[in-house]
């Protein structure tokens, strides 16, 4: 394998990892704060892609699609959190898992009902089609855009989490929600806000990858499995772990496809097993 092919594979892996992070980051924050393993998080990503498709189809604007999709999915996230999760907080985790699994089935079937089983794509803006040269390789411009876009988004999230007072609240919430509540913070409202924001980020991910991947009714399940692997590798509830885990998984998937031809799908499981063998509770476990 020559050098330029390796660069291409690594760039593919990073792009995939960054998109995965948008989903897995939300998954891990929601788990860390609310102790809810949100199986429906992949459905929110998928809804982002479908909403994005419809907006792009109706308006012809890609940019409107990646703006409106997260807003619409944020609203769906609000309905899910407020009407279904909220009454179940404090119950055993199995209750939430069953609930969110049910929601994911509902979303999937609603999508089939509305959009059918067809496979769609969002048309990318003309100036992002074609390829650009980078580090001596020709790389699809749109993929490069996705990479930069999601890096920019991650920096934004990072700034929100580390620099703002609401970021402090979120981090405190992943440590000890009860003490947070006892310090004047209405944690129920924080839960709702966090769920909505995480839903919106997942939706951006779904919408922005739609032009390079496709939009299909199974995509929610596909991504949620990968996102679960990411948070398990990274350490359940750890934000840093989600970033590290997503990049590892993205790279493993792409490198596996090249080096383990025929066993590409096994690569991520091998990586996961290897990591868990040495770090049973994930890579980033911040114990006191």
């Amino acid at each position: 394998m020559d050098f330029s092919a390796l660069i291409t594979t690594i760039l593919h892996g990073l792009t995939l990892g960054m998109v995965l992070m948008l989903v897995a980051g939300g998954l891990t924050i929601i788990f860390g704060m609310m102790e809810v393993l949100n199986f429906a998080h992949g459905s929110l990503y998928m809804l982002g892609a479908y909403f994005g498709y419809t907006v792009a189809h109706l308006t012809g604007s890609f940019w409107l699609a990646i703006l409106i999709a997260p807003l619409a999915v944020g609203a769906v996230g609000f309905l899910i959190e407020f009407f279904s999760l909220r009454p179940l907080y404090g119950r055993p985790p199995l209750h939430h898992l069953l609930l969110t699994f049910g929601i994911s089935l509902i979303v999937q079937n609603a999508i089939k009902f509305i959009w059918g089983n067809d496979i769609y794509s969002i048309e990318m803006p003309a100036f992002l089609s074609g390829s650009s040269s980078l580090l001596g390789v020709q790389y699809p411009t749109y993929r490069l855009f996705v990479l930069l876009f999601s890096v920019a988004l991650s920096i934004l999230i990072w700034l929100l989490i580390t620099k703002t007072k609401w970021g402090v609240v979120v981090r405190a919430g992943t440590e000890d929600i009860e003490t947070l509540e006892a310090h004047g913070i209405d944690t129920r409202k924080v839960f709702t806000a966090v769920f909505v924001v995480c839903a919106a980020f997942a939706a951006v991910g779904g919408a922005v990858v739609a032009p390079m991947r496709t939009v299909y009714p199974q995509m929610g399940v596909d991504i949620i499995i990968e996102a679960f692997i990411v948070v398990i590798i990274g350490g359940l509830g750890s934000i840093k772990g989600a970033v590290v885990g997503a990049l590892i998984l993205g790279l493993a998937t792409q490198l596996g496809a090249v080096f383990l031809t025929g066993f590409a799908d096994a690569a991520i499981y091998i990586v996961m097993a290897g990591i868990l063998l040495f770090r049973p509770s994930g890579l980033v476990t911040e114990t006191e």
């Binding site: 007072k165 402090v168 609240v169 981090r171 405190a172 440590e175 000890d176 009860e178 003490t179 947070l180 509540e181 006892a182 310090h183 004047g184 913070i185 209405d186 944690t187 911040e286 006191e288």
Partner: protein, 247 residues
């Protein structure tokens, strides 16, 4: 300031507080003495509504019934809990821990802000950008107290602040509690350390298996050493009782 009447608190089916009644006047420092498992933490959690009582009433300033509120609403009324085991956030910095307590409070000049907290507790100023994880037990306790004093505090609930601290630090803590009292803040101090309770507070309740077994002043308690021996298996370890002069 605070009045509990016939408070019953449960964890699921297990009945922990069996009708506790007590009251604190404004500006008083009152201790709640009891062994491990007596229900001190449960009482603090009941006041804060972290474990809402199933029966009874808890009123603040004879105006607000706390049992109808959520913990964050109780906090906004000026009630502050320093939880057992400090309850600070280890992964956050000292400053973030302090600022957290201000998130829900309106900005006002007169309040104890972060800068004033650093003036009062220089040890925290030195560590302001360090993660709490690296702080000693005593420093964490100071942080927990400083955080509880941020903004408008009227009632301070301290759950075994001396637990696990060296005797010298415990004495500093006692002095700090006395100072806080002087600023007019009402204090309820849960302790197993009888000496600390007797020297920091003016009035005392002894809690045993979820019931109040004794209530009285420091003088009354030191005159009834047998109660301490019965309920805690210790004597006060402070000055012997001086019988009041005959009248």
């Amino acid at each position: 300031m605070l009045r509990l009447q016939d408070v019953h608190t449960y964890y699921g089916p297990s009945h922990v507080l069996h009708g506790v009644s007590l009251s604190l006047a404004k500006g008083e420092a009152v201790s709640l003495i009891g062994r491990n498992g007596a229900g001190k933490t449960t009482l603090m959690r009941s006041i804060m509504q972290l474990t809402p009582p199933r029966q009874g009433s808890i009123s603040l300033k004879d105006q607000v019934e706390l049992t109808r509120l959520k913990p964050h609403e109780v906090f906004r009324l000026g009630v502050r809990l320093c939880p057992q085991g400090r309850g600070v956030f280890p992964k956050l910095t000292v400053e973030e821990n302090l600022r957290l307590a201000l998130v829900s409070q309106p900005k006002r000049e007169t309040h104890l802000g972060v800068d004033k907290a650093y003036q009062l507790f220089p040890v925290l100023a030195e560590k302001r950008h360090q993660k709490v994880r690296g702080l000693s037990g005593g420093q964490r306790q100071i942080l927990a107290i400083a955080r509880a004093l941020m903004g408008e505090t009227s009632l301070l609930l301290m759950d075994e602040p001396s637990e696990g601290l060296a005797p010298l630090i415990v004495r500093e803590l006692r002095d700090l509690i006395r100072q806080i009292k002087k600023t007019g803040i009402t204090i309820l101090l849960a302790e197993q350390n009888v000496k600390m309770a007797l020297s920091a507070c003016d009035r005392h309740y002894i809690l045993e298996k979820g019931d109040i077994r004794f209530s009285g002043t420091t003088q009354e308690l030191t005159c009834q050493q047998d109660i301490l021996v019965q309920t805690l298996g210790v004597s006060s370890g402070v000055a012997e009782c001086e019988a009041p002069a005959p009248t």
